[in-house]
């Protein structure tokens, strides 16, 4: 059995005819050969598969592709290219916010959406105040990025990269 789904990925239309059990992650990796999104666990436990769906970051391994008909999806491929990186991507390179690179697309997608959440004033578990703007402290970045595991343990570089990009700096 196969289901038809139309996905908007990085501004382009993709038509999917696939087994209804196909996750959004597997659809994009296996059917459309956009392999920038990674599969670290397939259980929603590592964040390597993070994509931005209708403006929110999600673990794409935890949702079925057929549930996303008409949804707008941004994957790592949509955020930048080697010759034209986003400010966050450049900051990850500058601050060595990765080693093996396998968690990295998820980190970058997650951080991109996370900065948007902060700019909208969403609080986190470590926020002092649940209302009003959330200052981007080191603890705020770390807490908000704790759904993205990095076994190479590039956490210090990840935090520095995000802060640097958020401040628009090039340090």
């Amino acid at each position: 059995m196969s289901l038809h789904t139309t996905l908007w990925i990085n501004g382009e239309t993709y038509a999917l005819d696939a087994d209804p059990r196909t996750t959004l992650l597997d659809a994009i990796r296996d059917h459309f050969n956009l392999t920038g999104s990674k599969k670290g666990c397939d259980h929603g436990q590592c964040g390597a598969c993070t994509m931005i769906v209708n403006g929110r970051r999600i673990n794409s391994c935890l949702t079925l592709a057929c549930m996303h008909d008409g949804d707008e999806i941004t994957t790592i491929e949509g955020l930048g290219q080697p010759g034209a990186m986003s400010a966050l991507q450049e900051a990850f390179v500058r601050h060595d916010g990765f080693q093996c690179g396998y968690c990295t697309p998820g980190q970058v997608c997650s951080a991109t959406a996370m900065l948007e959440e902060v700019s909208q004033g969403w609080p986190s578990h470590v926020s002092e105040d649940l209302e009003g703007p959330a200052p981007l402290s080191e603890a705020e970045i770390s807490e908000r990025m704790s759904g993205n595991l990095c076994r190479c343990s590039a956490y210090p570089g990840i935090v520095n990269a995000i802060r640097d990009a958020a401040e628009g700096g090039t340090t």
């Binding site: 390597a48 290219q81 396998y102 993205n148």
Partner: protein
Amino acid sequence: MTAHLKLDKPQSDRLGDMAQGVIGRETPRREGPLKVTGRAPYAAEVGDGTEAVGVFARATIAKGKVTKIGLDAVRALPGVCAVITDERLLRNPAQGTANTAPVQGGRDVAYFGQPIALVVAETYEQARHAAHGLEIAYDAAEDAAVTPEDAEPESLESKQIDIGDLDTAMSHAAHSMDATYTTPSQNSAAMEPHASIAVWKGDELTLHGSYQMLKFNRNELADSLGVDPEKVQIKSPYVGGGFGSKLGIAPEAVGAALAAKELGRAVRVVLTRPQVFEATMRRSETRQRVRLAADADGKLTGIGHSAWVSNLVGEAFSEPVAQATHFTYGGANRSYRHLIHRVNRTCAGSMRAPGEAVGMLALENAMDELAHAAGVDPVELRLKNIPDRHPEDDKPYSSRRFADCLTEGARAFGWHKRNPTPGQTRDGEWLIGLGMASAARGNILSESHARVTLHSDGTATVETDMTDIGTGTYTILGQITAEMLGLPLDRVNVALGDTAFPPASGSGGSWGAGSSGSAVFVACQNIRAALAEKLGMEEDQLTLTEGSVIRNNTREPLSAVLDDDLTVEGHIEPGDTSEEVQQAAFGAHFAEVAVSAVTGETRVRRMLGCFAAGRILNEQTARSQCHGGMIFGIGAALTEELVHDPRDGHIVNHNLAEYHVPVNLDIPQLEVMFLEERDAHANPLQSKGIGELGISGAGAAVTNAIFNATGVRVRDYPATLDKVLPGLPDI
């Protein structure tokens, strides 16, 4: 042209003579833009989507025989194209540097989780469904040993060592320590699961895999399949982390190759996360007895380190727990025991710093306990006990700025502010403490080849089957070449991870950078010599910088003096310097923790590591390696524990939600200091390994800080809340 160097003599600092200034410098990873944009292809991603997909079904008993596999029912399921139950399937991965097949045969079950059959289908969804439904019948053995206590330990003769008389030293000691520590099974948990795509062309196999040591992996794969290694090519240009778990060929590679052969088409096999936990490698649990005898001043008169570890029947590897104890501290009377329980649990193998990672947890806790008992500052105690020569074989050390790491690290951290009496510092709900530990990791040179070509257009290419598993190989091999040949870094192209290239040491044992880098160095040195000869000058008079040759005070572009490409294959081999001196990298860790007086939860507030590891080839990637090691250490200290079910040994928490690797919020900004050092005995780069130094002792600094914060001494790792809470002072 080939060039060979056997390291029989200490080497001069030739890199230091160069004019380029590229080596050592903080240099961002060269493949970084590919990785951060999702364009670096990992093993499972190189296919075109037409491959068949394999999923393993695994054993659900600890020991016994498979009597029947329900093949027919599964073959009838939609999309299923094959069920592989070949006798060549691997029981478990090969150990690091094994170079031959590991134990094979799908019918004899040795542990819960062992791969039994590979179900191959058109799609992942179909293969997964069919593998779940595969019925396997067993004849279960009655005598499975699912905990170490179930099996009488074997002793390894070469590792039972007595020097002097430790018992007498203990009974005469002014201060002594005799305690038992335990560490649980752990998993490397690299973020990329083991993955292979196998493609046959006639009798030639190409395997796109995720492996650390390709020249060994190629032989292991060929031996497993019963084919000629010449017919096997492995490609691993990008590896999503290894930490030991991808040292040896693993079940998915052999499964993919067998299935691809049977079906006559490409097959992709990716282990699920639970299978990575169950069917690759764990670090053995350990039980360790440490004895320390000291005189009234705290100078050691004796040291004992006995270890009980486990592994499957037929595995030569056993966690070398006391590895660093032999050479770190003095003390005339010494005793070691090493015992191995043969258990029916997931195979035990190398995980980041086998030996030191767990051995130093116990030794450095014991040193802290001794310091406390003797009323000596923990840094002082270590300084007093640094031996002049190797305490067991009397060899001199190569370079060793161990004492400087202790004193300079202590100064930078503000160690003097520590109150030696535990439980005295409070910050609201939190009890604050400082702790420290030493780091030590033996240094190894491993045979390696690399081909370097200086092209006539003034660019260069490096080719070797060396891997970059996040270690920075692409960048440092480029830096070494750029430095030696006087090229801007962007004119050096580095190609790695393909057995079609000259065979390198591989990544493991912290020897990758020093070994593969030295092969590149040797090649470059010979290219320089050839160039000098061509120009009619001595090599040591040759100045190459920014793509130019400088002679007679004039500067000419390299492309103007080269009419042909110059290609040299460099070959480095260990020699007498590996035997004549004790080579090791050293360091010191300092940690500040806060322990909740209410819950017993520990948070690391800050941590500093001070290291001396010879020449640092790239300060940025080296620092990241140290961060990685230190964070593994924090995980070992506080959260990481594979839990085995006492009934059948299976790993209960075989996923990333329940096997707790540190997350971002668990880690504060870490400080890493490198002391200037060169090691002429190590290799011509004068560098020493750094990938595993950071984990050595790191966890002990954390648990020693917990003791200073609370007075609670946790000897059973990890120091989870339940172990700390009962000993806390009243709120």
